[in-house]
Amino acid sequence: MKITVLYFARLKETLKYSTEEIDLTEFMANEGIKVISVLKLKAFLAKRGDQWGKMLMGKLKVRAAINHELVDDHAEIHNGDEVGFFPPVTGG
């Protein structure tokens, strides 16, 4: 299962990624899961190291969108989805 992940604002700057393609096939097989939630994807990314854990699983309330719809941590991600992660918004 392949997805596209986008990072915005403080996340983009700290993680030094704005977008990436991720193949979750191996991770999901190892975990023995057929579906992956936003929270699970965050946990997967957090394992990459210090900044990743701090940014995605820390005190910053990271929000997510799947295919341009705001979702919560329980939302399921499907093959081909675009997942966006971003910090609390500060527009207006």
């Binding site: 915005f8 604002a9 341009h68 705001l70 966006g84 971003f86 609390p88 918004v89 527009g91 207006g92």
Partner: protein
């Protein structure tokens, strides 16, 4: 409904006239214009950069206006939000609500702003004498949104 995310500035009078162009039953136009302040959290701001999530932004703004339309008796609405680099006193955002009566227009305009502040994917980065900094979300904005639920 007009929703726009743009780098260009906007002219409030033109937007009001565009909203009025096809309707003669509008009694109230309530507008909000947000401006870049020269001071934020005690530091002088010399410049502001606004980033957004392009595909999500206009969709989310439209969702917010649709929610307002479901809640109040509105005739039409315009939301324009700028992105890119802005300077103090520059216009950032415009929300205009057209309604037959002022009560609906005032409530809906404030509702749209409260939700825009907490739901629309825009992020501000300020340039101050100490360098650049991302603006933190404010609890007071969350509290303002909670009033409507």
């Amino acid at each position: 409904m007009k929703i726009a995310v743009q780098t260009d500035d906007f002219d409030v009078s033109s937007e009001l006239k565009a909203l009025q162009a096809t309707r003669k039953d509008i009694g109230a136009l309530v507008s909000f214009v947000g401006l870049v302040r020269d001071l934020n959290l005690g530091a002088e701001v010399s410049q502001l950069t606004l980033e957004h999530y392009p595909e999500l932004t206009e969709k989310e703004l439209a969702n917010i206006v649709t929610a307002a339309q479901a809640r109040w008796d509105l005739i039409d609405a315009t939301v324009i939000h700028r992105v890119g680099t802005l300077n103090p006193t520059d216009q950032i955002v415009l929300v205009v609500i057209a309604s037959a009566h002022r009560g609906d227009a005032f409530a809906a305009c404030e509702f749209v702003m409260d939700y825009l502040k907490t739901e629309a994917p825009f992020w501000k980065k300020e340039v101050t004498a100490d360098g650049e900094r991302w603006v933190d979300a404010k609890d007071s904005d969350d509290a303002a949104k909670e009033r409507w639920s």
